[in-house]
Symmetry: C2
Subunit: 433 residues, 2 copies
């Protein structure tokens, strides 16, 4: 047989009528097998497509018995000729002359990767690599990769440079709630919950920065939309005001998201989904308008209260797609958000229906005001002195946001549990695999 | 003055003769200032370039006094007309009609960002955002961003999908030495030292995966080439053998690295450096040949010993650029590396002179052999059962590698301390900022 495993050159989506008459080598896992006595048929699948293989004893000899006894989902190698197919589904098929089981299935599988028998989410997550043999599952991760790529390109073409800020940090940067801590060579350290302070600092020289990374919140939430290790697309820009930051965010969804959707026709077909399109400009309502609208629907919230589950459910009745809620109460926002007058702030959230996708705003860039806001939040400016120093060293006005990539993937792929959008999700009960 | 801060549209590298006669708005930090009495000159710099501004009292009025008292490195706004310049360095300059100090420098700076007075590395790292105003420093991070982008594009165009595997993991995956641990909702967890087991598992369905992320090693090394939070470019591919994996790695350096170098002419000029070019194919020596070559130079190492500092210094005398050392002793490599016979393994390291850049090889894909190798390494297969199960569920043959991006950046930028290649590096003594 082969004396050297060749680099795989032909994927199964490449087995097309153009190859008729050619000898090819393919690999993949056995998705279906039908034994018709004189002939055995296999449908093989790989990461890109599927193909039918025909085994005829007159051609392949006793190896046909090895084919017959191959368990479904084994990973196999086939060499053969591409010939006209017998079914509408496969216009060509491979008439095998060599066969080898490279990775046999020796035990009962915990789930049916072809999706014929649905499996529970926990079983799927415990066996994610196998779950990914289901084209619906792998479609989600293909879309994820395409979106993150498009996001990087969109931000780069908007003049931003990608940076990498530390995930192990020495102080509880934004106020310290819900941080994971660890021992770092005898000192206490934390996992970063966002790159907030770093990205703001960097605007003083790099001006426009972005980062796409995992961040950590030790929240005990166990909902359909929270993860303890989540992916955030973060930006910060010198000489951007609130409206500039909102424009950039709209563009991320409309342009980068739109490009990813356009490039994922096959994936959305596998998901049986027509993803929601983003039409610019997105509707904008103020926090105060949201309160009024809720009051008209019978929900009375006092100024300053957060818009919880009931509130966003009611708002989503009017706003099905993407919309901004702007000008939140100052006290509801972190210390670094620019005050806007009347107890409001220069801030915004991006929503999709009930789901909060992003949060951002204009930042304070004056040390005095920043210290005042820290104190108003009950934080000690002394704990932030290594950050505050930059605000006396030539800090430009700046704005930015953080965008929850996993939640956005829920929106476009249509899954209702955020765990479906992450390969190996982390929640309060799930630390493995 | 301006009633709204506009999104910055014009960067200082865009102030060219093409704009002569136009009114422009620019921002940046004050790099130089010369007061000639009737005229004040400023050189402004921003993240992309520099420009000269002229302030004439007859035009700008009393604001000229504000210009005079502006401290160097303050971040300022200027509106003015682009006119023919007075110096060779600036063919055009801006004749200012409006001026505003947006971010004043109010305290003595800890370093001179223009680089006129050299600062120690610790001072620079403690004040990285300011250090990045030095074009030499920012050049390194521009090259870094360009290389990581080119790496992603190279791997994508080679048929790989980018994945994100967890950084908080439930077990000490590769044997447990030197891991950071943390408490995860009452359980012990670790920070991932590599995506090794995850990326291998994923070859059974996604076939070709890559990940670019921070990883963690709790090693107490405090050398010029180790970090505790480092960036690795990791790949794993079904149906790749050792040579395929080496080809891909050569391509990463030659093609992606080459593209990044080609796109960074201005950056390498700022660094005053002609980066080393990678010529394919890279020289290949076996571990046994390396031992012989060392013996000829008077260094006797027994078979099985690692090639330490003295050894690689001697090898680097013959191999100045990129080269592979292949077929390492099996016992010197991790449990998942494919045995090669005669106590050797199907493995390789990529070196640049004395510096190890990458390590990889063919992996075991049979459960029995993998268990045997775990035991030979003193590890208990029971601790790996959630990983081993996939090796009976249709695992393809696969190969891969991990590539140290920070070290590669040392090679091309010519810095001799890896801390220069990371914005906020982490080492045993450095946890902040």
């Amino acid at each position: 047989m082969r004396d050297r495993r060749l680099r795989k050159e032909l994927f199964l989506d490449g087995v097309t009528p153009a190859l008729e008459g050619r000898i090819v080598e393919v690999t993949g896992w056995v998705e279906e097998q039908r034994d018709l006595g004189s002939l055995v048929f296999q449908v093989l699948r790989d990461s890109r497509g599927s193909a039918q293989v025909v085994y005829d004893k007159s051609r392949i000899g006793d190896a046909v018995d090895e084919v017959r006894t191959t368990t479904l989902q084994s990973y196999v190698y086939v060499r053969g000729e591409v010939v006209r197919g017998r079914s509408r589904k496969f216009p060509v098929e491979i008439r095998a002359s060599e066969y080898e089981v490279l990775g046999p299935v020796r035990r009962q599988l915990p789930l049916d990767p072809s999706g014929g028998v649905p499996a529970g989410l926990d079983v799927r997550l415990d066996n994610r690599p196998l779950d990914l043999r289901n084209p619906r599952t792998s479609a989600i991760f293909s879309i994820r990769a395409k979106f993150l790529r498009a996001a990087r390109e969109y931000l780069r073409s908007s003049g931003f440079i990608e940076v990498n800020t530390p995930k192990i940090i020495g102080s509880a940067a934004e106020g310290g709630a819900d941080l994971f801590d660890l021992e770092y060579f005898g000192r206490k350290a934390y996992l970063a919950q966002s790159p907030q302070l770093y990205k703001e600092q960097l605007t003083m020289s790099l001006e426009r920065v972005f980062e796409i990374a995992f961040y950590y919140r030790a929240e005990k939430f166990n909902t359909q939309r929270h993860l303890n290790e989540f992916t955030s697309v973060d930006v910060e820009a010198a000489m951007f005001d609130k409206r500039d930051a909102m424009d950039l965010l709209e563009g991320l969804v409309a342009e980068a998201g739109g490009a990813a959707i356009d490039e994922s026709r096959r994936e959305f077909e596998a998901l049986g989904r027509d993803p929601p399109r983003a039409e610019r400009p997105f509707p904008v309502i103020t926090y105060v308008q949201a309160l009024e609208s809720l009051r008209a629907k019978g929900l009375n919230l006092a100024f300053g209260e957060d818009l919880g589950g009931d509130a966003v459910r009611l708002l989503a009745e009017e706003h099905e797609g993407y919309y901004f809620i702007v000008d939140w109460p100052l006290d509801a926002k972190p210390f670094y958000i620019q005050p806007g007058g009347n107890g409001l702030s220069e801030s915004f959230d991006l929503m999709f229906g009930q789901l909060e996708l992003a949060s951002g705003g204009e930042r304070i860039h004056e040390r005095g005001l920043l210290e005042e806001r820290l104190r108003a939040k009950g934080l000690d400016p002394e704990g932030f002195k290594d950050h505050l120093k930059f605000y006396e060293w030539g800090m430009p006005p700046h704005s930015g946001w953080g965008f929850g990539a996993d939640r956005y993937l829920m929106v476009i792929t249509g899954v209702n549990n955020i765990r479906e959008t992450v390969l190996y999700p982390r929640d309060p009960t799930r630390l493995t695999p």
